[in-house]
């Protein structure tokens, strides 16, 4: 959201060299324990309050999801799913959706604007709107379908993990406000330990498949879930089972870049070498030479 310099930057979009930083920082994480969530949306409201975002008043279409999807001014959203994980079993699963703050962020990889997306040393992935050019490549890069482009200024927005609060030692607004303690925030290591305890508890209550959602396909995330059914994350309003940066994006922003420049360089060099090795093809000059040889031949004959 803003270029906060109180957090060290480890990755910066469209930048060839690593940004400077010699310090080591603890990785942070937000843990969302879905088994404890009551769907009160306090986190959603706190996010809007802290970040001063006001969603347009929409229409009720008969579901609790409100608004229906993430928007440029709704950075976190409660998604409600009525599922039957097994026959004759019914569960209401409520997931707080928002940026997962991937260790290997697809948005950052896809972004062509230098510094428009940064990753801080603590793991938070942040959009720096002043550098955003509104191309929407971050949307193509994201395996979680998170960033949204605002029609107001054509720039991309998403959850910042309250980087401004974290920078001054506070927890994100959603964590602060959660009435059930379902959202916790701290070092990633601590959050994993905390999750272990929660999972053991869930296991003892009959949720054999309870587990931590920290997908390794994106190098792990800095927003993690405790899921009752960790074997079926899709139950939670389509949480991807094995999110990865798309192979297309990988090629486009990986191999294609140096390979194409090399190819264009070789072609230009080839033209350069051809010019000096073979030389131009000049019709008029050849004609002159023909004349010369002809007249030379004529002189030879005369002699």
């Amino acid at each position: 959201m803003s270029s906060l310099q109180s957090l060290d930057i480890t990755a910066r979009s469209a930048t060839n060299r690593t940004p400077p930083s010699i310090r080591e920082e603890v990785e942070v994480a937000k843990l969302i324990d879905i088994s404890k969530c009551i769907g009160c949306k306090a986190c959603q409201v706190a996010c809007a309050e802290w970040n001063d975002l006001r969603e347009e008043i929409g229409t009720n279409v008969g579901v609790y999801d409100n608004p229906l999807d993430l928007t440029p001014s709704t950075w976190t959203l409660m998604r409600f799913a009525e599922v039957e994980p097994e026959e004759y079993e019914f569960e209401w699963l409520i997931r707080k959706d928002g940026c997962m703050h991937c260790a290997d962020p697809g948005c950052l990889k896809a972004c062509p604007a230098p510094g428009a997306i940064v990753q801080y040393a603590n793991g938070i992935v942040d959009f720096v709107s002043e550098h955003c050019i509104g191309c929407g490549y971050c949307i193509a890069g994201c395996p979680f379908d998170i960033p949204r482009i605002s029609p107001k200024d054509n720039r991309a927005y998403k959850c910042t993990l309250c980087s401004d609060r974290v920078a001054v030692g506070m927890e994100p607004a959603c964590v602060k406000v959660c009435p059930t303690g379902c959202i916790t925030f701290g070092s990633k290591e601590d959050m994993k330990k905390h999750a272990d305890g929660r999972i053991a508890d869930l296991n003892s209550r009959g949720y054999d498949q309870a587990g931590l959602y920290d997908p390794q396909g994106v190098g792990g995330t800095h927003v993690m879930y405790v899921l009752q059914h960790a074997d079926q994350p899709e139950l939670y309003q389509g949480l991807p089972k094995d999110p990865k940066i798309s192979a297309a994006v990988d090629f486009w922003k990986g191999l294609a870049k140096p390979f194409s420049l090399a190819l264009l360089g070789i072609a230009s060099l080839g033209a350069f070498v051809h010019y000096f090795a073979v030389g131009p093809n000049d019709a008029e000059e050849d004609e002159d030479e023909d004349d010369k040889t002809r007249s030379a031949a004529a002189t030879d004959k005369e002699d």
Partner: protein, 212 residues
């Protein structure tokens, strides 16, 4: 060389204006596109007033390029159909590269290299336009499923690189290699000597007094 060389008209003024606009839009669209393609080339966006303006202008310039190309395509496609002689010519690329016309079969208005470039342009321009629409923020990209947008990005890049490779060959050949070609594009005429040497069949056609 005492007398002024005899000239043959190769391109009309409307041909030249269209080619000039095509070339200009290509240069601008290539510069803005390269700025998004590689971080080391982002500085090219400065020519457009920064990254955001480059993002706004790139698709508009791209559409302009396509329109100018489309005009050229309609005008020239007939001259660019490959003939039997063309395949023989392509089989002797070594002689082509070494400026040995005497070993090559006679060529009409365009040589097989030019024809292949033409068809490369037809394919890449159409692909660039179609995939460009799927990437065009904020107007059209949101209408496409994310898988289509990702595939479009890859095809857009590959087409652009192929087009740029074609342009390196085209620009080198026309400006540096085959002397006298630039004159055709800037002033519309070529010398008879040039025509006889590079496009003998076309030369015959032009001087036999039958066709225009």
């Amino acid at each position: 060389m005492s007398a002024k060389p005899k000239l043959i008209q190769r391109y009309t003024s409307s041909d030249r204006v269209n080619h000039g606009l095509l070339a200009l839009s290509f240069i601008l669209v290539a510069m803005s596109g390269m700025a998004f393609f590689h971080p080391s080339l982002y500085w090219l966006s400065a020519f457009f007033g920064g990254g955001e303006w480059a993002r706004v202008l790139h698709p508009l310039l791209g559409v302009a390029m396509f329109v100018f190309f489309f005009i050229a395509m309609v005008k020239y496609w007939k001259h660019n159909l490959l003939t039997g002689n063309d395949f023989k010519w392509l089989g002797r690329l070594g002689d082509v590269m070494k400026n040995r016309e005497e070993n090559l079969p006679p060529i009409g208005k365009y040589n097989p290299g030019q024809k292949l470039l033409f068809w490369t342009l037809v394919v890449t321009m159409i692909l660039l336009l179609l995939t460009g629409i799927a990437l065009w923020q904020p107007w059209f990209a949101p209408l496409f499923p994310i898988g289509v947008v990702r595939a479009a990005a890859v095809i857009h890049v590959i087409s652009a690189v192929v087009l740029l490779l074609g342009m390196i060959v085209h620009i080198y050949s026309a400006i540096f290699w085959i002397k006298g070609s630039t004159r055709a594009m800037l002033r519309g005429t070529v010398t008879e000597t040039w025509a006889r040497k590079h496009h003998p069949l076309w030369y015959e056609e032009m001087t036999s007094g039958q066709k225009k």
